[in-house]
């Protein structure tokens, strides 16, 4: 598949990719059944030091992951990044990286002991969960490819629910859509490059 803007070949590594950034002209390309559609110019993310690099395979707990894309969210004076990883069985994983805090999660469909994530307050227990963080960030851009489209500039809301022992559930609620992710906190020292 080629970029509708510059004609260069698009590097697509994931079967269900919906959004991809052209490496040559930095255009944002939306992929649908009808083909590739230019939806605008991707905002260039400022280069920041990171343990994870696009298309450089990593291992976490002896499992391999390939970073295919990332979304950057700004909060306060800083930012955090959500890395889209392809797992060994072509599964979708998300690695949240926030200044040394790493969480590896996978989308899930579990029922939670509250009606809406909007009522959750930090420090309160909800069933077996302890609410540890309620926050928001503004989407400032992306790189690589993503399994869904994003709205740059849109505010993204989330809550963190701890199950203890490093187990975490993240609920994202943007535009009335709730997405639940389940995973674990990761010690960054355990993240290794496959080819290092």
């Amino acid at each position: 598949m080629n970029c509708p803007q510059c004609g260069d070949a698009l590097d697509i590594y994931f079967k269900w990719t919906k959004l991809v950034e052209c490496r040559s002209c930095k255009s944002s390309i939306f992929l649908s059944d009808e083909g590739a559609k230019l939806i605008g110019k991707a905002s260039t993310l400022s280069p920041e030091p990171s343990l994870i690099k696009l298309h450089e395979a990593i291992t976490i707990d002896n499992k391999n992951y390939l970073p295919l894309g990332k979304i950057r969210y700004a909060y306060g004076r800083g930012f955090w990044e959500e890395w889209f990883l392809k797992g060994e069985s072509n599964q979708e994983f998300w690695l949240s990286v926030d200044e040394g805090d790493f969480v590896l999660e996978k989308r899930t469909e579990i029922s939670l002991p509250f009606k809406s994530p909007r009522v959750v307050r930090v420090g309160r227990r909800y069933g077996s969960y302890l609410a540890t963080e309620v926050g928001e960030g503004r989407c400032v851009g992306f790189e690589g490819e993503l399994p869904f489209s994003i709205n740059i500039g849109k505010t993204h809301h989330y809550i963190h629910l701890s199950k203890g022992g490093g187990n975490l559930v993240t609920v994202e609620f943007t535009d009335g859509v709730d997405k639940i992710f389940q995973g674990k906190w990761i010690d960054p020292l355990t993240i290794k490059s496959v080819y290092s």
Partner: protein, 448 residues
């Protein structure tokens, strides 16, 4: 287009340098000591101008060093004082790495502790943490050790929250030396940190601290691991030598259990000169003399001849070894106690063949009888026993210091919990009991 701003203190206009990442919320101006809120246009929140530290520390904001393989910059410092034990003070230095985030380096009377946020602590409430006897975190069990409240006495550089003079924070320390977990409750949230006791020289080297600024850690610290490598090695070596000595003792005692070569009785009426033949001079020759009373035993003299030459004489008052060539005393020995009823004489005879043992009563009027048994090839393990005992002392020495360390740890502990013993961690305590019993056993066997 984003605007480039020069950052100046809103109180004194001094230039500010930001070293930390996006989570930094406050910075203290190094000139006027104003604490500025980074999330509110550098608004002045408080001031530490009148707060002076009476002592200087080896570390300073802006220093760089590599700890645990991570390149860190010291971006801030907070000093605390225990609200109850006011002489207990410490300083936390905030470290920042763009790749690995934030960590703390705690300086307390020369002790250095490296801490990083823990995310795997079980979901326990504040009260529950202190009431646990053990808390399992990442497969390691931690003991609740201390609960205390501290207040902030000094702030410098950048911090990830707004710290004010006098702010109080509650802590619970859990320990598994050299590791620990600190639970921190600032009234708004509870955070957990993985702690690790660091080799101070290693940290000083990492941050290139000048020799004259380095402090030695003399005082006790609960996270400081018990380390006596020489004594530990001595203990291990002693244990193996004790096994060898024990086997050697058993072999010698078995091989040198003795063979009777003469057995006879003597009474107060006549002297007896009893011949016996030594077939071997291996080990020692024993003469076992037993009487009904001490008075009976003291009523006899004994002389040993070889080829009609006196080689040994024994009475209650003296004992001599003679040189058979010159017939002169070559060695004087100690004799038995007056109250003894039974004695064992060990002789190192260097020639096999026929010997005569002459036993004579001193006073024929005193009714007395003796039973005498002569044995050859009798081993004596006194020296091996003493060596084994010395090895046992060397072996126990290490555990004595471990025990003392545990006692100190227990005496400094502020949280009482069930099911604990000052002997916890002495994995070889069973061995200690075994060897003590073994020594007592040997003592009884060899207690003639």
């Amino acid at each position: 287009m984003s605007k480039i701003q020069s950052i100046k203190c809103t109180n004194c206009a001094a230039p500010l340098t930001l070293l930390g990442g996006g989570r930094v919320e406050s910075i203290t101006c190094s000139y006027c000591k104003s604490v500025l809120d980074l999330n509110d246009n550098y608004k002045v929140l408080s001031n530490f101008k009148n707060v002076k530290m009476s002592y200087s520390l080896p570390f300073e904001v802006g220093m760089r060093g590599k700890l645990k393989g991570i390149d860190y910059t010291i971006i801030g410092r907070v000093s605390y004082k225990d609200t109850l034990y006011v002489e207990s003070t410490w300083s936390d230095f905030l470290l920042f790495s763009p790749l690995y985030g934030y960590a703390w380096l705690t300086y307390e009377q020369g002790h250095l502790i490296y801490s990083k946020r823990n995310r795997t602590f079980p979901n326990l409430t504040w009260d529950e943490i202190g009431n646990q006897s053990l808390v399992m975190v990442d497969g390691k069990s931690y003991k609740p050790y201390d609960a205390y409240t501290a207040k902030i006495t000094y702030v410098e550089g950048e911090l990830t929250w707004v710290a004010k003079y006098g702010d109080k924070i509650n802590y619970i320390d859990l320990i598994a030396p050299p590791h620990g977990i600190t639970a921190e409750n600032n009234g708004k949230e509870i955070e957990f940190y993985n702690d690790e006791y660091m080799d101070s020289n290693e940290v000083y080297e990492a941050f290139s601290i000048a020799e004259e600024k380095r402090d030695g850690a003399e005082a006790f610290h609960p996270l400081k691991p018990f380390k006596r490598p020489f004594l530990k090695a001595l203990s291990t070596v002693s244990l193996w030598f004790m096994v060898i000595v024990a086997l050697l003792m058993m072999a010698v005692m078995f091989d040198g259990s003795g063979k009777s070569v003469a057995h006879f009785r003597v009474d107060n009426n006549t002297s007896i000169k009893e011949p016996f033949t030594l077939s071997s001079t291996k080990y020692l020759t024993t003469i076992h003399i037993k009487a009904d009373s001490a008075k009976a035993l003291n009523n006899f003299n004994m002389k040993l001849f070889k080829d009609e030459k006196l080689i040994f004489s024994l009475t209650q008052k003296n004992a001599y070894i003679f040189d058979p060539m010159t017939n002169k005393v070559s060695k004087r020995l100690s004799t038995w106690e007056r109250r003894a009823k039974e004695i064992m004489v060990y002789l190192d005879l260097d020639k096999s063949g026929v010997y005569q043992l002459l036993v004579s009563p001193i006073d024929s009027a005193i009714n007395s009888k003796l039973n005498i048994t002569v044995k050859e090839k009798c081993s004596r393990v006194n020296y091996l026993f003493m060596f084994g005992f010395l090895l046992l002392i060397f072996y126990l020495l290490y555990y004595f210091f471990v025990w003392r360390y545990k006692q100190k740890l227990a005496s400094e502990k502020e949280i009482d919990s069930d099911n604990e013993s000052i002997f916890d961690g002495i994995a070889n305590w069973g061995q200690v009991i075994f060897w003590v019993l073994f020594v007592i056993f040997i003592f009884f066997i060899d207690g003639d």
